[in-house]
Amino acid sequence: MKLVLGYLYPELMSIYADRGNVECLRRRCEWRGIGVEVRAIKAGTTFAVEELDIMLIGGGQDRQQWAASEDMQAETGDCIRRAVEVGSVVLGVCGGYQLLGHRYVDADGDILPGLGLLDVESRHPGLEVKRCVGNIAIEWEGETLVGFVNHGGRTYLGSEATPLGRVLEGQGNNGEDGSEGAVQGSVIGTYLHGSLLPKNPHLADHLLVLAASRHETGYELEPLDDAAEWAAHAAALRMLGVEGRGR
């Protein structure tokens, strides 16, 4: 089997060490002997609907986020939406998460349209309101996810999206309802970086299983020695005083 990873807008949206997520998925395929290819999908690039198994999009600075939003309304955005219709897996982090939603309303009230793949809307409450910054742990599928968040915008979920997890410690989607991230079909959005996937190998493998099952139903991943991954996960939990797995 061979999986193709699309690294969306690497020139615009990779501010929070988002390449760590790409690197993590690539290595975890290689270590298992699964063929893997990473394709950079820059603004203005088109691709075939079946081409990408996983698409990753990270965070960007304000100006870069504007450029990405604009490009999403053209051909590249159409390609991404069509790929999701045929089951391509998407992970959006921070600004990438916001742009997977319907729109992002910035501090001046200007609207950046998103891809509309998640039924969420993000709004900046104004520059006088404190950003959400700090370490975070959330509960996800009976396990923990750890990371760091740094965002001004607050995200609110509509009825089609479900939260990725419940905040155990730190600030989630909006600091109000205790939710963090959003899931809708094969699309996942979250504010957690750190990088996210290396320290959360169970989430990384979840994405790989979703992607692999496009090629082979019931595909099972070969287990890896994840001692270093869980040591970093456990250290992050300890720092926050949260109970959880630290194998």
């Binding site: 020139e11 501010i15 290595r27 504007w66 760091f148 750190g194 290396p198 456990a234 250290a235 992050a236």
Partner: protein, 450 residues
């Protein structure tokens, strides 16, 4: 009052006491710093930017001293207003007035976020702006935010100072466009540069947002760029370094060319980034009236600043300390290390205190895969994050990656493996801890007493 605090803090040995007295004095009188700066008879210069502040400031200070001037400067790298004030308090008399002779000049490195607050309240002779990279997003915010603040502070000033700016950094050039006074650009003309790799920070045109075209990238996004859309381009620098030749981590040779002279320098520091520091320092010292021959002698005898490829002997081992604090700087350090022969022994220390950046995700933007470790020990508060990063970089030393959060044990472990030089890559507060460990072991003096 501040002087009393300085004496107390230094005597009780609290981390060098570099900023605490200033903090006390600042609370008592916020204008005091600006009164003292204005009272320096030979004027003062400010140095700011993401990377290279401490080294550039040390170079300029040494050049002025060699030229016979008394110099007051914040050598410890404590670069917020309270750090500057602490340093100036050390030169005041019992009445709190500056004790300075006519030739005294001030050289201060200033935190890039603090510059916008300090600049409107003081009248420096010159301001040197080194570069702008992504650094500690949790503390500084985005690159664009800093650029905008610089623009406002520079545009809002009367332009009475000479601005010395890095022509090769599009973000810096954009920020200084509003300056009303003289601007001297410096740059690097022919490093063995290439296309900027995808590890670079800012390759969008700061004016119109189009992707910049690079003829050459010397170091991250520093290089020879232009925007074909709106015409924004690298200004022609008045002072340039050419013919760079690297001698491992030991030295870099280059020529510096300005309007009136060409000077050959053998700088005992590694990397293109230190050539930028040297050329910027020369441009600034020139404005302060230092001659070329004095500059050359100072650079050739230059001892590295705190943790900037600083070498010490620990027992049988030579230990080189390399401060890493953001992706751009760390990638340059790694580029120098990648140029060494064979395998090296490494101790890598990662902390997440405020001064290091509480968000450690930046390590995933550093290309550690270019290292060739014979042995590899990781330490610091976030040792397990670093161990994970190095695992995914594909580093597989014979005995594996050893994680040890206890600093003393980490050092012992690293010293016990291998016999050649040991390279210590460390974030700021971990390096402070590491250095005080070496002080206890008698290997090195406390840096604020040097």
């Amino acid at each position: 009052m501040g002087k009393l605090a300085a004496a107390v803090v230094r005597r009780t040995g609290q981390g060098g006491g570099t900023a605490a007295p200033g903090l006390v004095a600042e609370r008592l009188s916020p204008a005091y710093l600006y009164d003292l700066l204005a009272a320096i008879p030979g004027g003062h210069a400010l140095i700011s930017g993401t990377n290279g502040k401490t080294t550039s400031a040390a170079m300029v200070g040494a050049m002025l001293e060699k030229d016979g001037r008394d110099v007051v400067q914040n050598r410890s790298g404590s670069n917020l207003t309270r750090g500057l004030l602490s340093e100036l308090l050390g030169t005041t008399d019992w009445r709190g007035r500056l004790r300075a002779i006519a030739e005294t000049a001030g050289v201060f490195e200033v935190d890039e976020a603090a510059l916008a607050r300090i600049l409107p309240r003081t009248r420096p002779r010159a301001v040197l702006l080194t570069n702008l990279f992504r650094d500690q997003l949790d503390r500084y915010g985005e690159l664009d935010t800093i650029t905008r603040r610089w623009q406002a502070a520079i545009g809002g000033s009367d332009g009475s100072f000479t601005l010395i700016a890095n022509a090769d950094d599009p973000a810096v050039v954009h920020a200084v466009g509003s300056h009303r006074g003289e601007t001297i650009f410096f740059g690097v003309e022919d490093a063995s540069g290439s296309e900027p790799d995808d590890w670079a920070d800012a390759t969008m045109c700061p004016i119109c947002g189009t992707g910049l075209i690079y003829d050459r990238a010397n170091y991250s996004h520093l290089g020879h760029y232009r925007c074909d859309e709106c015409g924004f381009a690298r200004p022609r620098p008045r002072i340039v370094a050419r013919k760079l030749e690297s001698d491992g981590l030991t030295a870099t040779e280059f020529e510096v060319e300005s309007d009136d002279a060409t000077i050959s320098v053998r700088l005992p520091l590694p990397g293109t980034y230190n050539v930028y520091n040297a050329v910027g320092a020369m441009a600034l010292a020139g404005v302060m009236g230092v001659g070329g021959e004095v500059m050359r002698r100072v650079l050739e005898e230059f001892a590295p600043a705190f943790g900037r490829a600083e070498r010490v002997q620990v027992g049988e081992r030579e230990v080189t300390m390399l401060l890493v604090k953001n992706p751009a700087g760390a990638n340059e350090v790694i580029r120098s290390l990648a140029g060494l022969e064979g395998e090296q022994d490494f101790l890598v220390l990662l902390n997440d205190r405020v001064a290091d950046g509480e968000d450690v995700s930046w390590i995933w933007d550093v290309d550690f895969s270019r290292l060739r470790p014979g042995s590899l020990v990781v330490g610091g508060r976030r040792a397990s994050d670093m161990a994970l990063r190095l695992k995914y970089a594909g580093l597989e030393p014979a005995e594996g990656i050893v994680t040890e959060t206890n600093l003393e044990k980490a050092l012992e472990g690293a010293l016990a493996t291998g016999e050649g030089p040991l390279y210590v890559l460390s974030t700021y507060t971990a390096l402070l801890e590491f250095r005080s460990l070496l002080v206890r072991k008698g290997a090195v003096r406390e840096f604020w007493r040097e």
